[in-house]
Symmetry: D2
Subunit: 281 residues, 4 copies
């Protein structure tokens, strides 16, 4: 599993650099708490599922992973909002950024929703999509060309014009757009990694960060398979139902016909509950 | 709400020292994210409920509270496990601890459960309870008497015997038992306070820390009433139902009779789900 | 001090939104630790200086401040690396970013150093500077124009062309360059604010973030003047001297002539020590 | 280095359970920041010393270690104040604590200082020391005896009296004193471990936690020898000299005779500076 970069988007990747601990380490840490008083030895799988179901966190913190990630800057800006991790990012103060920028695939060019403030799910029509791709490609290309000119460097990193000084890298970078790629080492414990994935593999997350979260999900599956199964059942595929929602549910299970008005739920919450109860059925 | 210490247990209290922000500050912070793009202005209550329901966290971090708490050391040891807070504790290295220790009320003396490793809910019979109260009171009293003797101090803090040196406070304190009271300033943001209360006002938490969590819940109710309501509905009285649990629920709502075997759930999880669906009914 | 935005760079600002605590709150928290055992009551100023000199941290955590900051994205990317704060950023997923980007003043256009990897301190000559300003201005202007075109919005936020759909905001933003302005609410405790300023008001920090750190320093001076004085003496204007460096110092104070070779220090460290001992003299 | 418990105090130990990364991983992470722009490849040792000297933190966060520690509860209470670590503690809610408590060695029984609030450094005279040892041993022994009686368990964990219920473990533990041993798994990154050791191996730390910090220092020496050397030179044996202190130093190096009054320093700070400059000489 180590060292193999898994491609993400057009130029990105995730590569596992190192890790510490596994399912067994979680079980071992959890059993510290029970000590000699633990009469009934649960089996590993059952214990991990119990821990996940009852929101125990510290045993999952006992595993750690270090990743090398290449990602567009606008994705990095969302990613870094998760504070419980260690990061060493490639520095554009000291180094020259590569000539690599993200351009979405045509079928990922969602229109703006008119209902809410997110992407609508509808893909742009062909003409409009082509125009967007042209603009993104041309502007990023030109930004990079001017970046190199300001640095007084050619594509191989050699001085362009020996009579010029070249602008400091820390300043020239400001001309690059948010779809340029950066890279970093990112180290995080398993508990916080699961939380990251739970937020970022969610359908409401932007597609581009979801693409990374999906790869992370697969890393977790291969690294800690028992934890992965429990995580899928008790987090990713689980739902939180509010107190008033549970009351509605109990009435329905008792055979009562309930509609939004008689439910006491606000329309949006009623819709969300109905969607949850009817999905897959 | 400020400055009034609210009594907890036999000698403890919680006192609000200062706070910053309120429901309005949460709304204000959330609206930063929507900026001029926010067409539909939600009203405050609806917005706070939306934020809570969809697990937004940062707007709730915009409120902060500082508390002065007096609590038994064994409760303090559980409390301090929450890392996202600032603490200034009364130091028994530098100061002499007060002659105050916790003794449970008789009807709180639970027996050990034989089924699991927690308190059973059954209260000790009278004779056994009296013996426990006697032991706790006598041992703590003697521990404190010897603490003072080692310090060479009398109850007023005056030197007992001018020919003796007196042991360092940082050492003498080790003779005190875990039911002695300590105190601290504890500062935390609202998001993390809610999380603390969610964990510690839970029926599985030990009664003694729950007593503090219940007071905190009331502080929250008076401080940020809209947030309190949303928190009660979407956290305290809510339940997380697993993916397999949701599948069972959908079958039941479709009129299918499901039992544990046909559910595919493990016995413990089946019991928990049934308890949830039948409670209050 | 509240509500007044202090301008920073060409379009940025820092505005204090709220705060909790002051010098007195630090003293109060520190005294909790000393309790009745504290015989000698230090005066506030002396106590705060003592706390700062001996690296006490928790009393300074008892103060909290909330700021509204407008800053270029490349500055925001450095700023966010400080993890011990709460942030609500204006979201370009939901909202349209303003037409405001940073262009350095001409005398801030440093050349790249040939010695190390940072800015050199030398300012670009006039022709090269003019070219850089032209490129930055033109590219950002064009990026924004195309951003609006992709969004299908005009400068007033009205639909440009009713036959087009408009790209989702979360995608269109990737065309903007790193000098565009963003804004956020940023809430942090005083201890971590001091640490932030110590790192970012340092001469090695990039000029643009230093400009913000300098304003923060002034906010601190007005908010907690005793802490500010102690911070200047014991952090900002202090220096850490290594064990081997201290040995050199002792030899020099004994009248011995020491040079780099006889010092046992590496050349770079020797230079740094000499620079420190000779500055201002 | 793994698995071997290193004894600390009378019944405690530190045992390395697992670790991730080494000196090489720090170098690798630091070089990410410099990328292809790094002309001059520093050698590992020099780079690590540079990072330490200039307070770089994130490369040191790339290493992680997990320890199993057995320690008295009053030491655990100081230890847990460091928030940037993951902990799984043996739970006295679920398990029965062992019959093991700490009693200091006779030559560690310091008297209380009359000057400040800490231990004085003077050891108690023989009679007083013997009395302290008797009290500590007798009280802890009795506390444990009553703990077992309340639990209705004998020394082998068998039921004492089949007619009694036995108090819940979570309650009975409150009778134990702070010198009883607990144990935990403690996982932390190298940067935060160094900070912990810097604070707790300090002469002002209480002897009992210093005993653990000294073992940790040796673990660091064997784990990351280059980092250990840099840490000793630039942290453990280094000193921070204030701005006014540096000014005094410069005057002295210029041959000027400076005393406390002419220094402008407060008496306490002057004493600390003189002690620093004269130690070892």
């Amino acid at each position: 599993m180590l060292f193999e970069p898994v491609p993400v988007l057009d130029h990105g990747f995730i590569r596992v650099v190192d890790y510490m601990g596994d399912d067994e380490a979680i079980v071992q840490a959890a059993r510290v708490s029970y000590g000699r008083g633990s009469k009934r030895r649960r089996r590993d799988r059952g214990l991990i599922r119990y821990l996940m179901r009852h929101w125990h966190t510290t045993p999952f913190e006992m595993c750690e992973i270090k990743l090398h990630v290449k990602l567009p800057i606008f994705v990095a800006r969302q990613w870094i909002r998760h504070r419980t991790a260690s990061v060493n990012e490639y520095s554009a103060r000291y180094s020259v950024l590569d000539h690599e920028f993200y351009v979405p695939e045509r079928d990922r060019l969602q229109a703006q929703s008119t209902l809410n403030s997110q992407g609508s799910g509808d893909v742009l029509n062909d003409d409009e999509a082509q125009r967007v791709l042209d603009l993104l490609t041309t502007d990023a290309g030109q930004a990079y060309e001017h970046y190199e000119e300001m640095l007084n460097l050619d594509a191989e990193g050699a001085t362009l014009d020996s009579d010029r000084q070249g602008l400091a890298r820390e300043l020239a970078r400001m001309n690059l757009s948010l779809n340029f790629y950066t890279q970093w080492y990112w180290k995080i414990d398993l508990f916080n990694l699961l939380h990251f994935v739970w937020l970022r593999a969610d359908p409401h997350a932007q597609y581009e960060i979801r693409a990374y979260a999906d790869v992370l999900l697969d890393v977790i599956r291969r690294w800690v398979p028992l934890t992965y199964d429990a995580f899928m059942d008790y987090r990713m595929n689980a739902a939180s139902i509010s107190g008033p929602g549970l009351a509605v549910l109990r009435r329905m299970l008792n055979g009562e016909a309930v509609d939004q008005e008689s439910s006491g739920l606000a329309p949006a919450e009623w819709r969300e509950l109905m969607k949850l109860l009817n999905s897959e059925s």
